[in-house]
């Protein structure tokens, strides 16, 4: 049995009267890539805020490698790297200074931290930009710096919240490629939140989140097969990005009709 990197169990969260998450459960096994698909407003960012302890979990539980985030936050957060949806780099500092700051936030300094910064920037293909101000980087480059930053303390679980939003195709491809290599070669567990279907491969495990609820779970192929396109929609071959997109539209439309 594969160890669970992230276990979210029956988590609910509300902002006043507005329910953002309703009994959400999902598991990311160690060393696996899992995608969280959902339209804007589905609750993905709220789920990420709970999984990173920016918000307290009031109903349900979040465990990272078996450690409850509410009871043992330090140990749980030490195993977690995160790339937030909005940019979180300090634009006026250099790439090296940004990474050194993050290393310090995890208690790392000195030669070990310096070597790790150089190594990670080489890994994401930005070794030559190490002393450039973040302000001078393109959106895709800044995202890759954020991925390097998220890995600086050697986490075993990486959360990425719509990491490719607003990027061109080439930049998106480069980021997806880096993350998938980390999963394959480094045994890193990844929860990849997105609403861009071509970032998901047909054998990937996916969860579909809509209006705060998980409405489908399985491999992308099985989810696409189990939820045919809505009546009137153009038929697409099962297993393709288009089939998943059609299934997703069918699912979210039905959920809307049922609401």
């Amino acid at each position: 049995m594969n160890e669970a990197a992230l276990e979210v169990e029956a988590v609910s969260h509300a902002f006043g009267a507005r329910k953002a998450l309703d009994g959400v459960s999902l598991t990311v096994p160690a060393g696996r890539f899992v995608a969280l698909l959902g339209p804007n407003g589905a609750g993905k960012t709220t789920l990420f805020s709970l999984a990173t302890r920016l918000y307290a979990t009031r109903a349900g539980s979040v465990r990272i490698f078996g450690r409850d985030l509410s009871r043992a936050p330090a140990a749980a957060l030490a195993d977690l790297g995160v790339v937030f949806q909005s940019r979180t780099l300090d634009l006026d500092l250099s790439v090296r200074q940004n990474l050194a700051y993050h290393a310090a936030l995890h208690g790392m300094a000195g030669r070990a931290a310096k070597a790790r910064i150089v190594h990670l920037l080489a890994l994401v293909g930005l070794g030559e930009r190490i002393d450039d101000k973040v302000r001078t980087l393109s959106g895709g480059q800044a995202r890759r710096v954020e991925i390097a930053r998220a890995l600086i303390h050697r986490p075993r679980l990486l959360l990425l919240d719509e990491a490719t939003v607003g990027l061109d195709l080439a930049s998106r491809g480069a980021i997806v490629d880096v993350v998938r290599r980390l999963v394959a070669e480094e045994h890193l567990a990844v929860l990849w939140a997105t609403h861009i279907f071509d970032e998901v491969q047909e054998d990937d495990e996916i969860y579909v989140l809509d209006k705060g609820r998980i409405i489908a779970h399985g491999t992308a192929r099985s989810v696409a097969g189990a939820h045919p396109a809505a009546p009137g929609a153009e038929a697409r071959p099962s297993g393709s990005t288009a089939a998943l997109e059609a299934a997703f539209r069918a699912m979210t439309t039905r959920a809307e009709d049922a609401a």
């Binding site: 990173t52 918000y55 009031r58 006026d92 200074q97 310090a104 890994l123 919240d161």
Partner: protein, 287 residues
């Protein structure tokens, strides 16, 4: 990607012992100092403000406002000498508010989230932010005192040293107040009005510009307001410390205010008890 290229990723990293705390603290302080050094206009404006008060306001009032002999002064002093401690603490007041402004900014652009996902306890992260703010304010204060010395504000040489702990404590107090304010501000735009409601009342309703006895002569009510105002005690703590005198009442009030506001800030930034989890999703994010 070769296997050896990824090898350094594999070793586990755990740096959460006492040494890790020091590294974290120095990282947060270092970042704040780096940002400060790069924002030259911030440094200049922090200096210009008290210097305008000293060179123009105090010089103009020198002949109008006499200051009788009150502790810690052993003789009549120039008005410039009297207002200098208040202006030094005013630098810290502005700096404390500026730090909280940067907290609001960090929260809006998202880098606050990076700080708060550190595995170190949240109270320690907030304390480190406070210490970082104090480090920045000390640099500003001592440059101001050096310039003031050229303007006939003669402080005993040992006073610069004996006032250092007082400046650290007053910086912590004003930073803690700023932290609490930053936790209550949802958007950067709302901060300007808070500055007007906090900075100016705190500064003017204190002993920074006039001795308390003179304020009491003018208005008993204003005198009570000044006594309640922790900024008054911060100014008096620094004023006495600059002349090598320890003022226990001022120390007690400043220390207590620091502890109360820091505790409030820890609660406010606690994901379980504070405002963070009760608000909507982070600004600018989809869900």
């Amino acid at each position: 990607m070769t296997d050896s290229a990824l090898a350094p990723l594999r070793a586990p990293a755990r740096h959460l012992g006492p040494g890790g705390y020091m590294v974290c603290l120095s990282g947060i302080v270092g970042r704040e100092l780096l940002r400060f050094v790069q924002q030259k206009e911030r440094f200049l404006s922090a200096l210009v403000r008290p210097l305008v008060w000293l060179f123009i306001f105090a010089a103009g009032f020198r002949s109008v406002l006499g200051v009788s002999i009150i502790p810690p002064y052993e003789t009549y002093v120039l008005y410039e000498v009297y207002v200098t401690p208040g202006l030094a603490v005013m630098i810290q007041l502005f700096n404390g508010m500026q730090s909280s402004l940067s907290m609001v900014y960090d929260r809006e652009v998202g880098s606050m989230r990076v700080l708060l996902t550190s595995p170190f306890p949240r109270w320690f992260l907030l304390l480190s932010k406070l210490v970082a703010g104090v480090a920045v304010s000390l640099a500003q204060v001592y440059v101001f005192l050096a310039i003031a010395r050229l303007w006939e504000v003669d402080i005993p040489p040992m006073g610069y040293l004996s006032a250092l702990p007082a400046f650290v404590l007053t910086g912590l107090m004003l930073g803690a107040i700023g932290l609490v304010i930053s936790s209550a501000i949802r958007q950067l735009e709302n901060f300007a009005s808070v500055m007007n409601f906090v900075i100016f009342p705190m500064f003017f309703a204190s002993s920074a510009l006039y001795p308390l006895w003179r304020i009491r002569d003018a208005s008993e009510t204003l005198y009570i307001v000044c006594l309640i105002n922790p900024f008054t005690h911060a100014v008096e703590l620094v004023r006495n410390a600059l002349y090598g005198v320890f003022e226990p009442q001022a120390f007690a009030v400043v220390l207590a205010t620091t502890l109360v506001f820091f505790a409030l800030a820890v609660v406010a930034y606690d994901p379980g008890r504070g405002i963070m989890g009760r608000r909507g999703g982070p600004k600018g994010e989809a869900s």
